[in-house]
């Protein structure tokens, strides 16, 4: 596994128990926004469209690991159903959909910022949405595309692009909903990231953000527990001081025209390795914001 090529993407870089996370960061806002401790990560995104055979081989290896529920992305695999459930319910509320129907997100255009290997994007696509996944890591995008190809429905409903949120904004793209899961804690310029999320969202649309709180509990779990005691995540993967509290996030989002509608804690039961939604937001949480209508 080519760890030096580990991508700038949320699904391998951001999570607590991620053995593959090597400190590379989610790149969001072009030149000023990248907080990058791994020069190789940039190399990945600079490859452009011509890919050599070695790189193809590497991403194929990675595809297998990203989509291995027992591999380095295991916590994201197990988190995926609960973040999808929260997002489904939030978007149903926002767009007046029946959340008990089979494809409640039918026809909605969703942007998944920091889509990585496409885990969250595929789940949203299965609920009926047309999902655009973007990631600064080209390897992540190639993995996501390759994985989607196996299922014609997913293939038809997803498109993946190796661009940053800022680049998407430059193209004038807008979506019914924008999701950024396990991304914001790796972003250098958070206020600017929030402004971009707002600008990428249509009026009355929704933004869903999931991340890690900055509390004693999250310090214990994410830094002491995962990086030092269990050593499942390389030391330095997460910078606790960069974590954002729900209040800080809500204030920032409110400031860019995205008032918070609801929030839920996400709890990983260490015994069963299953996630559940709960009131306690002291470690992981997920929030839904609705964009104000400009009259």
């Amino acid at each position: 596994m080519a760890s030096q090529c580990s991508p700038l993407h949320n699904q391998s870089a951001s999570f607590l128990y991620n053995t593959r996370a090597d400190g590379s960061q989610m790149s969001f806002s072009g030149s000023s926004g990248i907080h990058n401790r791994d020069a190789n990560a940039e190399k990945g995104s600079a490859l452009g469209s011509s890919i050599n055979a070695d790189e193809v081989l590497k991403f194929e290896e990675m595809a297998k690991d990203w989509w291995d529920p027992e591999g380095s992305s295991a916590p994201l695999h197990s988190m995926n159903p609960v973040r999808t459930k929260f997002t489904r319910d939030a978007l149903c509320l926002c767009f007046g959909r029946d959340s008990s129907s089979a494809q409640p997100l039918h026809g909605l255009a969703i942007l998944d910022v920091g889509c990585g290997g496409g885990l969250f994007s595929e789940a949203l696509a299965r609920l009926g949405a047309s999902v655009t996944g973007i990631d600064a890591s080209e390897a992540g995008i190639l993995v996501a595309r390759e994985h989607a190809r196996a299922d014609p429905v997913i293939h038809a409903r997803t498109s993946y692009r190796n661009i940053t949120a800022e680049q998407a904004l430059d193209e004038g793209l807008q979506f019914d909903a924008v999701v950024a899961s396990e991304v914001i804690e790796h972003v250098e310029n958070v206020p600017e990231f929030c402004r971009s999320l707002a600008a990428l969202t249509r009026d009355s649309g929704a933004v869903v953000v999931s991340t890690i709180n900055r509390t004693a509990a999250s310090y214990a779990v994410a830094i002491v527990g995962a990086e030092y005691l269990a050593q499942v995540v390389p030391r330095g993967t997460h910078d606790w001081s960069r974590f954002i509290t729900p209040d800080e996030l809500a204030r920032l989002m409110e400031g860019v025209g995205l008032p918070q509608v609801s929030i839920s804690g996400m709890f990983l039961n260490p015994v069963t390795s299953r996630w559940s939604l709960m009131n306690d937001t002291s470690v992981n949480y997920i929030s839904y914001f609705k964009k104000k209508t400009v009259s």
């Binding site: 595809a63 297998k64 989509w67 291995d68 995926n80 489904r88 089979a102 595929e122 299965r126």
Partner: protein, 416 residues
């Protein structure tokens, strides 16, 4: 039958009704005449309240309900060799009945008829599976297709079908299981079961079961004054019984049911809560010719693979002793349809191995394994005719009969 029940369960739930379901069968759907033929078919099942609930949920119960099947109000189990017996009555526990006995073909026809109402299902027959390509287990396995590629089925007529999930509901000798290379274990009991439809001289509303030195004999009410016999015995006796004339067979059944001593219960145990022993009705000839079949216990080590799940007899075969076989299959249907509902709700791939393992295989192997062990050990306790085992057994039955809490617990388990 279990496969059709799954298709109905998926079709009747608005969430899973979005899944396109192809039901393939070797032959056409089972149909029954209306009214039913006078003599019931030999293959019958005990339908527990949990299974009745499943039929009601999918809207197939009214085609099974009496008079097309029979409810039984009592259950009585006793021992030829000793004094022990246990008797359950629905009235004593505030239930309308203890369960139903229905012909398998009545259950099948009810499900197939209901299946046609579900727009998401297509029935396809005759279909014979020739090859099955499934994705590899783990991402590390480089051989074969990638982990999320769709399953591909090739039929004998050359057709190929792609699916996100293949459900093998093709019985004890499952072709799907064989093609998926899932290992099985099995054990022969070196016994055969004799089945027959018989008339009873009095109306029968009880599921009777007597443990004989050679194995258990069950007499279950089916419909229209007919009852079904399932008699497990030595291969030798089974062969002889199969050749017997209807009159000879009825005589043998009556001797086996009513011969020897009548249990009086253990005088040392309190009799306050005990239900009195009731003698079973005499049977008479005039039903069907009796048939015999080998008894085995079999199971698959794994029920799932990426994009594959085995249900019903394809996953587990139990002793017909308590008529639980098909109920275990209906339990599989409940668990698998719950797993698929969860998958649709949370955008998971219905063929994802982790989903199938956690929400289907794990709970069902626990449940089915318990029942397999319970029936298997019951079989072994009752099989030998040693004086000691028989007397302990008699005492055990008596203890159960005289201990309401224990009795209720066992009944709850037996009723699913």
């Amino acid at each position: 039958m279990v496969g059709a029940a799954l298709a109905c369960a998926l079709g009747s739930n608005p969430i899973t009704a979005s899944l396109r379901v192809l039901v393939m069968d070797r032959g056409g759907p089972t149909e029954v005449t209306s009214p039913l033929p006078e003599v019931p078919d030999l293959r019958v099942s005990t339908v527990t309240p949990a299974s009745v609930q499943l039929f009601q949920d999918i809207g197939a119960w009214e085609d099974v309900a009496p008079p097309r099947s029979a409810a039984f109000q009592h259950m009585q189990v006793w021992d030829e060799g000793g004094n022990g017996y246990v008797r359950y009555s629905a009235g004593n526990v505030g239930l309308a009945n203890m369960g139903y006995v229905a012909e398998n073909r009545v259950l099948q026809a009810a499900l197939m008829r209901r299946l046609k109402d579900f727009k998401n299902s297509t029935l396809f027959w005759p279909a014979s599976l020739e090859a099955l390509t499934l994705p590899s287990y783990a991402p590390e396995a480089h051989e074969g297709p990638s982990t999320n590629s769709l399953a591909e089925l090739r039929l004998a007529d050359g057709r190929t079908i792609q699916a996100r999930l293949v459900v093998g509901a093709d019985g004890a000798r499952s072709r799907t299981r064989q093609l998926a290379d899932l290992r099985t274990f099995s054990r022969s009991y070196h016994q055969r079961g004799i089945v027959a439809s018989v008339r009873t001289q009095q109306a029968n509303d009880t599921a009777w079961q007597r443990f004989l030195p050679t194995g258990p004999l069950a007499l279950l009410p089916v419909r229209d004054g007919y009852s079904n016999i399932v008699w497990s015995t030595s291969v030798q006796q089974a062969m002889a019984l199969e050749k017997a004339s209807p009159q000879e067979f009825a005589l043998a059944v009556n001797e086996a049911l009513n011969g020897g001593s009548t249990p009086a219960g253990n005088p040392l145990l309190p009799s306050r809560s005990r239900e009195e022993f009731v003698a079973p009705p005499a049977v008479s000839a005039g039903g069907s010719k009796q048939r015999s079949f080998p008894l085995t216990l079999a199971g698959a080590g794994r029920y799932v693979r990426p994009r594959l799940a085995l249900v019903g007899d394809a996953a587990h075969v139990v002793h017909p002793l308590a008529g639980q076989g098909v109920n275990l299959g209906f339990g599989d249907v409940r668990a698998l349809s719950a797993a698929l509902t969860h998958a649709v709700e949370t955008g998971r791939d219905p063929g994802e191995l982790a989903l199938l393992e956690e929400m289907y295989e794990e709970p069902r192997q626990r449940e089915n394994g318990m029942m397999m062990v319970a029936l298997d050990s019951l079989k072994h306790i009752f099989a030998p005719q040693s004086g000691f085992v028989a007397s302990v057994r008699g005492l055990g039955l008596d203890l159960i009969n005289g201990t309401p809490a224990l009795k209720a617990r066992i009944m709850k388990y037996a009723m699913g």
